[in-house]
């Protein structure tokens, strides 16, 4: 798969790489800032899995809805949330995309229909089904894409949501990021059925497994699935086989997996394999790569500067937005 030619227009082919780099550099920086105690709480990095968010989100329209998890910096960014607003959110500044109240796990953006930032495992899945129901009832054609990990598929919420989506034929794209671990629990140690597509198909949701380390494979599979959702009105499920290169969160001592396993997956890293392909096809040269890198780093540093310059929400407004304010007459 990794050797199939990239047949995209050069601009778009590079865009995919650019976006993976943007996520990678953003998160590497966030990890550093966590070390400096600028960012606190739980911080879950997506490093190694970037091909999934990038490949999927480039296959959606701007007005499609997206529901994600606590590992969602990349998804927010690709939905169009400015990097500065993401970084400021992690700093707890009111310039953040959730005014600093959400932090890393609760990025939101109404403008781009990015519905979070959900820190309850599987909690976003039935929520996405409801968004799709609303779309269907209003006669719209927008898709709701919902991201979650393979661990979430053991939750009852996932089973109930899959059934509802299939029963009512709702336009949901289920995007399962199978990175083989839920915190420290390997898939085979938590689910009797490790063939996730088989599990999901039994709910009558069409399902397909995809190489999640290959941004082109992700993008192509998603385009087909989104088309199927729009054509049929019903749900589709994609399993993206991927891997997180870092710990689950900043507290994880990683006792549960071999270094060798991590290293083996790293050789399939989505960024270096894809940029190698681009270079092999002469869609990119080293200078071009360095330019993209520099661009990403510059964006990150600007985001950090934005966050640093950000301000704290006054304590006086703490109680605002527990309820929606009454419209002023």
């Amino acid at each position: 798969m990794t050797n199939t030619p990239v047949s995209y227009p050069p601009e778009f082919a590079r865009q995919l790489l650019r976006d993976m780099l943007r996520i990678r550099r953003l998160e590497e920086r966030a990890a550093e800032l966590y070390g400096e105690a600028k960012i606190r709480g739980f911080l879950h990095l997506y490093i190694g899995e970037e091909a999934v968010a990038v490949g999927v989100l480039h296959a959606l329209n701007a007005d499609d809805a997206v529901v994600a998890t606590y590992r969602e910096h990349g998804h927010a960014l690709l939905c169009g949330v400015p990097m500065g607003a993401i970084m400021a959110e992690m700093y707890g500044k009111q310039e953040g995309c959730s005014r600093g109240r959400g932090g890393s796990m609760h990025l939101f953006d109404a403008g781009t229909r990015f519905f979070g930032g959900n820190a309850i495992v599987a909690g976003g899945i039935p929520l996405a089904v409801g968004l799709a129901l609303a779309e269907r009832m209003q006669g719209g054609r927008r898709v709701t894409a919902c991201f979650f990990g393979e661990g979430a598929l053991a939750e009852g919420a996932a089973a109930e949501a899959l059934n509802l989506a299939a029963l009512w034929q709702l336009p949901v794209l289920f995007c399962c990021e199978n990175n083989y671990y839920a915190m420290g629990t390997a898939l085979a140690r938590s689910q009797a059925q490790t063939d996730l597509c088989a599990k999901v198909q039994a709910f009558k949701v069409p399902a397909r497994s995809v190489d999640g380390m290959d941004v082109v494979a992700v993008h192509e599979a998603t385009r087909a699935a989104v088309e199927a959702v729009r054509a049929s009105g019903g749900p589709q499920f994609l399993e993206f086989r991927t891997y997180r290169f870092r710990a689950h969160s900043m507290f994880d001592p990683e006792l549960y997996r071999d270094k060798a396993e991590v290293e083996a997956w790293k050789t399939r890293g989505p960024i270096h394999t894809y940029s190698a392909r681009l270079k092999a096809q002469e869609l990119l040269d080293e200078a071009g790569f360095l330019a993209l890198e520099a661009e990403a780093v510059a964006e990150v540093e600007a985001a950090v500067a934005f966050a640093e310059a950000g301000t704290l929400e006054p304590v006086e407004t703490l109680m605002n937005d527990v309820y929606t304010p009454e419209p002023q007459p």
Binding site: A65, Q94, G96, C97, S98, R99, G100, R101, G102, H106, F108, D109, A110, F115, G116, G117, N118, I120, G123, I125, P126, L127, A128, V129, G130, L131, A132, L133, A134, E135, M137, Q138, G156, A157, E160, A161, N163, L164, L167, N320, D321, V322, Y323, T324
Partner: protein
Amino acid sequence: MSRITYREALRQGLREALARDPRVFLMGEDVGRYGGTFAVSKGLLDEFGEQRIRDTPLSELGFVAAGVGAALGGMRPIVEVMTVNFSLLALDPLMNTAAALRHMSGGQFSVPLVVRMTTGAGRQLAAQHSHSLEGWFAHIPGLKILAPATLEDARGMLWPALQDPDLVLLFEQGALYNQEGELDESEVVDIRSARVRREGRDLTLIAYGGTLGKALAAAEQLAGEGVSAEVIDLRVLRPLDDATLMASVRKTRRALVVDEGWRSGSLAAEIIARIVEQAFYDLDAPPARVCSAEVPMPYAKHLEDAALPQVPAIVAAAKGLLGLA
């Protein structure tokens, strides 16, 4: 005025809301073909069709969360959880998501969802079908809680609840479904205030939902014994209407809360705490409460009766407060 049951009043409210706003739809277990477990939604499927009267699978978590999503997506869903007992399966989307979403998103997303559920005991349905948890739900910031006790509220609370931009839980008292009376069509129903249902001088009885009728009966009996009890119907359990409560308590100087919830950690405790915080020096006696016994509800009628607040206990507690015991 028209003669009508609490069930029919609720149905009228549903029908009006469905007719008035195309974004409104009803979803829940057996709301459609079956005609509603307690026949509240009977006939609505024929009238409004399958799209708007949606029978769901047995998946309380799933369809409540889907209701949250549908509200975010622009609809005005009414989700029926058949009884509050089963809502324990759906607390995560209610508390962790819907109630928190607006605040944690920095004010970006409101959840205009109404969840209806039947609450309360009194029908010999035993431990797993008799909870009164509306007062317990009232602990949760970000949501509003309604407890219609009258026909007017049964019919009239739904529409303002649907106009409310935030999550509203509407608790229907199971034991009241068959209660019949005259509906006052002219009453304007809000979802903000407590109401004085009977004026009095000597003490304030504070009740809601299933206990309002008992408090009124107790007041009647007390009147016969020369005691003038004021009766307040809370109506809205969150946020509480402190002003109405305190005005009454300052006047009568004595308060008795009647609450079908289990005693410890009841809404009655919160009301007592507020009275103490806001009106301590106006009190002539410690505020008191009559609540349910702290026991999983037994099936046998005499035990169920013994576990629930009853008129004689309310009368006795009221007299106790007045030193007439």
